[in-house]
């Protein structure tokens, strides 16, 4: 049997999904290990092998592909725990990243403090050199000033260097020469050049993206190197891929070089999964709610597609690469409930993480978390959590809640319910940001709830928002990891066009696109053998515009007439008008080669016949204590209906149905829950 494996490292758990050649899906979890995520990954793989009934080396020797989503870059950026980073930059221009082109967010908030720069001014070091926009040299790279800068790098014990010179998009020679000098003088220091990160004109976007790459690069690179070594040691000989912020994936060496491209790697798997489920008939309008131990990610699928943006900020830093539009909240099962400065109950954003974890994990945690409240309320089963692999300590959870209750001056039950209500409200607010604030009414969409913790909160959140339908996949706890197996392998190449004319001649254009496509195919062939589909696109604009539109050229002859016509049509569609008499300028030509993976076989979900409840559990709902029926998720028959209030649970996730909810087991592999009208 041959396997493909998806690995999603969250703040609390590492999820590992394996799919065999016949489409059987296996899920295993392990505690995440923030000090070195690869430890948790290896433990997850061991658990997966056990679940399948193999040894680790038997599993890895028959695995053809591993796809990995990592939050190493994201965490380093958010927590400001990246490398000690410096920047070498053109003399006279050391404040490009701090100036932010004169723009300040929040136009009417004049009392907004200015954030500290990622690379402080004393480490933005001027080097004497200067290029012209055509790549010509105004001032040659000055060896003395470069040496002085390198001396400072050494004295300051810098770990990483971003090399950001003006007009390097036109000619990378000065950046590359400086990089070579730094590497020679300071082996072991991570060096990255702006021309290699984002070879495009506009220095703020390029420098900022490069500074982030330098900041997270060493951390990501160390991690991926260690992970690969561990996998090789354990017997795995095939490629490891990392899912990138835009939802496609790249081999490990490329992900380490362009670490900034992994800044939203973690949540991208969830979006990929939502798209795959949408294609399987879940619906065209989805709001994804991926709630794990530490955070909740929310994204919007509209008309069956996810939205991509190019101006994303993570931790206040501009990253000008394509990325999925995902909102992340610091609210999850591990979020700590506490007495806020205003004297009221607050939940998060601090999380108990994987260690010590919630109080009920029995690892020494004493502060009550959302998971502790869910246990005290009877929503979780102490003996069946993670399929019984981790016995929860109900008494510890109740102790932690009682301590907080005493501080609040209310009883423990009211405190536990308050924690539940508060985290639901925070998540609902997050969904509002993702939908309502963008002018999208969430009520027409299905709430796709996944991640280990979402099933308990989805019904309450949907009620708050007036949403009528929820879907919880059987694979909820590992859906992001599963989604990573649904993405395509993609290699993209772009080239800015330098031409005296608005557009090169037809023969040049044909050669340009053929050449790019050939390069993309060659690159992809290094790590993928199979059917390849190529796509072409061009960034075009009218004469004096400065923003280009990326126009898809699939099915378009890449000559002057073809490009112009495609651009006029796209401009009309986007902006209501076109200017047929105006010259159309080609700025960047693009080609992408996509490796089509064999579709994973589909096994209809659900048991052949309906199953009775496996027991009952005493739970505290808003209406008081009640004995709820408990159903086993994986025993439900195809099409079987369960009416709330009820609990449906599997080894890795628990779904709480509130009164009036009706759940139906869909053969696509998810629980389809209809909420009562006006609920």
């Amino acid at each position: 049997m041959r396997y493909t494996i998806g690995i999603d490292v969250g703040g609390t758990f590492t999820d590992v999904v394996g799919v065999d050649a016949e489409g059987r899906e296996y899920l295993a979890k392990a505690a995440s290990t923030p000090h070195d995520q690869s430890e948790g990954v290896l433990q997850g793989l061991v658990n997966l092998a056990t679940a399948i009934g193999l040894t680790l080396s038997e599993l890895l020797e028959t695995t053809t592909r591993i796809v990995h989503g990592t939050t190493v870059a994201t965490n380093a950026l958010l927590e400001r725990r990246g490398a000690r980073t410096a920047m070498l930059t053109t003399e006279g221009h050391r404040d490009v990243t701090a100036m932010r082109e004169g723009l300040k967010p929040a136009r009417y908030d004049l009392r907004l403090p200015q954030p500290a720069a990622l690379v402080p001014r004393q480490l933005r070091l001027p080097v004497r050199e200067r290029l012209r926009p055509d790549g010509g040299v105004e001032i040659p790279l000055d060896a003395a000033s470069l040496d002085a800068a390198i001396a400072t790098l050494r004295a300051q014990q810098v770990e990483s260097v971003a090399i950001c010179f003006l007009h390097s998009w036109a000619a990378p020679k000065h950046e590359h020469a400086a990089a070579e000098a730094v590497r020679a003088a300071l082996p072991g220091v991570f060096v990255t050049c702006s021309a290699d990160v984002l070879p495009q004109i506009k220095e703020f976007e390029r420098f900022s993206t490069t500074a982030v790459n330098a900041y997270v690069g060493p951390v990501v690179s160390r991690y991926l190197t260690r992970l690969e070594a561990r996998l090789r040691e354990a017997g795995y000989a095939q490629p490891v891929f990392v899912i990138l912020s835009h939802g496609g994936m790249a081999p490990i060496a490329e992900a380490a070089r362009l670490a900034v491209g992994t800044a939203l790697s973690g949540p991208a798997g969830g979006v990929a999964a939502a798209l795959a489920l949408s294609r399987r008939g879940l619906g065209e309008q989805l709001v994804t709610l991926d709630m794990g131990g530490t955070s909740t990610d929310i994204a919007l699928i509209q008309d069956g597609a996810a939205t991509l943006g190019r101006g994303r900020e993570v931790g206040g830093e501009r990253i000008a690469l394509d990325s999925l539009d995902i909102i992340t909240l610091g609210a999850g099962g591990g979020s700590i409930a506490h007495l806020g400065s205003g004297g009221t109950l607050e939940v998060g954003p601090q999380s108990a993480g994987a260690r010590p974890g919630p109080a009920c994990y029995g690892n020494g945690g004493t502060e009550p978390t959302v998971t502790d409240a869910n246990l005290a309320l009877g929503y979780l089963d102490a003996a069946r959590f993670l399929g019984g692999a981790r016995l929860l300590d109900t008494a510890a959870a109740e102790r932690a809640i009682a301590t907080l209750a005493a501080r609040l001056g209310i009883d423990a039950e009211a405190t536990a319910l308050g924690i539940y209500r508060l985290v639901n409200a925070r998540i609902a607010d997050g969904v509002r940001v993702a939908t309502v604030r963008r002018g999208v009414d969430p009520r027409g969409a299905t709430l796709l709830a996944f991640g280990g913790a979402a099933g308990l909160h989805a019904s309450a959140v949907a009620r708050d928002l007036g949403m009528a339908r929820i879907a919880v996949p059987l694979f909820a706890a590992g859906l992001s990891a599963w989604g990573m197996l649904q993405t395509e392998l993609r290699h993209e190449i772009a080239r800015s066009v330098v031409s005296a004319e608005a557009m090169p001649g037809d023969a040049t254009l044909a050669a340009l696109f053929d050449g790019l496509e050939g390069e993309a195919r060659t690159q992809l062939a290094q790590w993928f053998q199979g059917e390849v589909v190529a796509h072409r696109a061009a960034d075009l604009r009218y004469g004096e515009q400065v923003f280009e539109i990326t126009v898809n050229l699939d099915g378009v002859t890449p000559d002057r007439a073809g490009l112009r016509e495609a651009f006029h049509a796209r401009h009309r569609a986007l902006f209501t008008y076109d200017l047929p008499e105006e010259e159309v300028v080609l700025v960047t030509a693009r080609a992408a080669a996509s490796g089509l993976l064999p579709a994973l076989p589909l096994l209809p979900a659900g048991a052949p016949r309906p199953a009775d409840p496996i027991g009952t559990r005493r739970t505290l709902l808003e209406t008081g204590w009640a004995e709820l029926p408990v159903h086993a998720f994986d025993e439900l028959g195809t099409g079987q209906k369960v009416a709330g209030p009820a609990i449906i649970e599997s080894a890795t996730t628990t779904v709480l149905l509130l009164a009036g909810d009706v759940a139906r087991m869909d053969e696509g592999g998810w629980l389809s829950i209809e909420l009562p009208k006006g609920g």
């Binding site: 404040d95 136009r107 004049l110 604030r437 999208v440 009520r443 515009q545």
Partner: protein
């Protein structure tokens, strides 16, 4: 109306104006729009009440409804779907001549039988429910000098082409003969046409989205939602204002000069706060002057709205309801409300900034934690000449680099090089690389400049230094238009004023010529260098209370 629908619709209006703004930004031709975003977008209802405005340039926040009103006054019920209206005249709904405004009426899809105060009646069987309004600053608007600002003007006819509300076209198309006439009166024909097309495109985008909303919800229901949205904003503002102490305070600010020899022109604000209302009375300001620093009425009204908005919580929705708690009093014939015919081109920056400064100086006594140190003044220069790389046309380049610093405030130091009070971090200076690729300019130095900020417990933001080599083919000419070479940015609540701007032309013969803020036709020889040191922001609070760690940080950064 249920709160979810209301929240969705409120956000929908904001999303519409933002989409329109994004469209204009991405399609416009001139640098001033596509790089520096000097434009504003609004939606008003049929009664010309502001419903939503995109967060672009704060100084336009209260001005846009005047454009819709001027169109209604000029055309009354003579409107039909697809009509395109245009204006720029500050005495007919505009702010100043370089700002062209396109107004598109949006009709209810159904004929209305009953009278509805939220709809504009028309001769057409349908009624006007909304106006989609797009205002954009043109690179050139004719007149005596290039670049839209004529610092030598002493009456409006010297400032450029005046356009009262006109019907520019029908069926969402512009009349080509009218466009040709307008374009012929400007110096950069191609940019003008491209920008006008982009403005109409953005306005149409808004009209399409608003029509779809009307189809979806029906006119009466949608307009009831608009009422509720405006009322909510009023309630929000009122709650905040009620939290301030009642009282009466005065503040004043001074313009450097009017360009014709009159110096230290005063703007005086008397602010009276009582209950949920703030009254701002500017009638004691100096009389109107000869030069271009006079304000039109809509611009003055908007500047007061802007100052008020800065004192509120940033989350308050910027619509008609939010400004119901504000009363504005002024005197016609004064610097802030000039009589028809006076020169006013500089008013969106000056005297707008001084109106804000006078109000904040008054209100520092009422709510010092909300008041902020002064943001820098605008000192622009527009350069025209020839580029050897593109011999077929002349260029006009507007300086947006070397922004002044922002004011310090109760929560921290001001932002460095973030701009002026009237734009508040909303004007982008644009890419140096892009500027060098498109214009014959070489940016030798562009960095923060220490020693420019006003001291305070929280200092102002740093100004910036720019060394710009002009590499035109033959001599170029520059016009300046601005203020702040004498007066720095205001210190507030015990903070100190910043140093003023200093702009110098380093000439080929070794001489140095200090530029004044209102100069016409400065000749610049190829290879000469503009050396600019912009002002920092004003400080907030007593400098003696400054945290020593912050002092040390400034020293480590080389910006003490």
């Amino acid at each position: 109306m249920d709160p979810v629908t209301l929240a969705v619709l409120s956000a929908r209006f904001t999303a519409i104006v933002e989409e329109m703004g994004e469209g204009l930004l991405r399609t416009a031709y001139s640098q001033i729009l596509n790089s520096s975003r000097d434009f504003s977008i609004a939606v008003t209802d049929g009664a010309c009440r502001l419903v939503a405005q995109a967060d672009h340039i704060p100084v336009h926040v209260g001005a846009m409804p005047f454009a819709a009103k001027a169109v209604v006054e000029a055309f009354g019920s003579d409107m039909k779907p697809g009509d395109v209206f245009l204006l720029n005249d500050p005495y007919h709904g505009g702010s100043h001549l370089p700002d062209l405004t396109i107004v598109l009426p949006v009709f209810d899809p159904l004929p209305l039988a009953d009278s509805d105060p939220r709809a504009m009646p028309s001769d057409h069987p349908q009624r006007v429910r909304f106006f989609s309004v797009v205002r954009a600053h043109q690179s050139d608007i004719g007149g005596n000098t290039h670049g839209g600002y004529n610092p030598g003007a002493s009456e409006i006819w010297q400032e450029g082409l005046r356009i009262p509300p006109i019907r520019l076209g029908e069926n969402f198309e512009m009349r080509p003969d009218l466009v040709s006439m307008l374009a012929l009166n400007t110096r950069i024909n191609r940019d003008f046409r491209g920008d006008l097309a982009a403005m109409l495109g953005a306005a149409k985008l808004g009209a399409n989205r608003l029509s779809a909303l009307l189809e979806q919800h029906g006119g009466p229901r949608l307009m009831a939602a608009v009422d509720a949205i405006l009322d909510l904003a009023h309630a929000h503002t009122k709650r905040i204002v009620e939290g301030w102490p009642d009282g009466k305070w005065r503040g004043e600010a001074f313009l450097d000069d009017d360009g014709h020899g009159q110096e230290n022109i005063a703007i005086r604000a008397t602010c009276t706060k009582q209950g949920g209302t703030l009254t701002v009375d500017l009638s004691e300001s100096d009389d109107q002057v000869l030069g271009i620093v006079n304000s039109s009425y809509p611009n003055m009204f908007s500047a007061v709205c802007m100052a008020f908005a800065y004192l509120l919580d940033p989350e308050v929705a910027k619509n008609e309801g939010a400004f119901r708690a504000l009363r504005v009093i002024a005197r016609e014939g004064s610097i802030v409300w000039a009589r028809e015919g006076a020169a006013v081109t500089l008013c969106t920056s000056h005297c707008s900034n001084e109106i804000v400064e006078a109000i904040i100086r008054a209100m520092q006594n009422c709510c010092p934690e909300r008041a902020m140190g002064g943001w820098g003044r605008r000192f622009r220069i527009a350069i025209t000449g020839k580029d050897a790389r593109r011999p077929d046309r002349k260029f006009v380049w507007h300086l947006f680099h070397a922004r002044p610093g922002a004011g310090g405030h109760a929560k921290g130091d001001g932002w460095s090089a973030a701009g002026e009070w009237h734009s508040a971090g909303g004007l982008k200076f644009g890419s140096v690389e892009m500027a060098e690729a498109r214009f014959p300019l070489h940016f030798r130095k562009h960095e923060f400049l220490g020693g420019t900020a006003g001291a305070g417990q929280y200092r102002g933001g740093h100004g910036a230094e720019l060394e710009l080599v002009v590499e035109s083919d033959g001599p170029a000419r520059g016009n300046t238009a601005g203020d702040g070479a004498f007066h720095g940015s205001a210190g507030i609540a015990g903070g100190q004023d910043s140093a003023p701007h200093r702009y110098v032309l380093r000439q080929a013969d070794g001489g140095e010529r200090v530029l004044r803020t209102k100069e016409v036709g400065v000749e610049i020889q190829p290879g000469e260098v503009l050396h600019i040191r912009s002002a920092g922001g004003g400080g907030w609070g007593d400098p003696a209370k400054r945290d020593p760690e912050l002092v040390a940080r400034d020293q480590a950064e080389g910006l003490a």
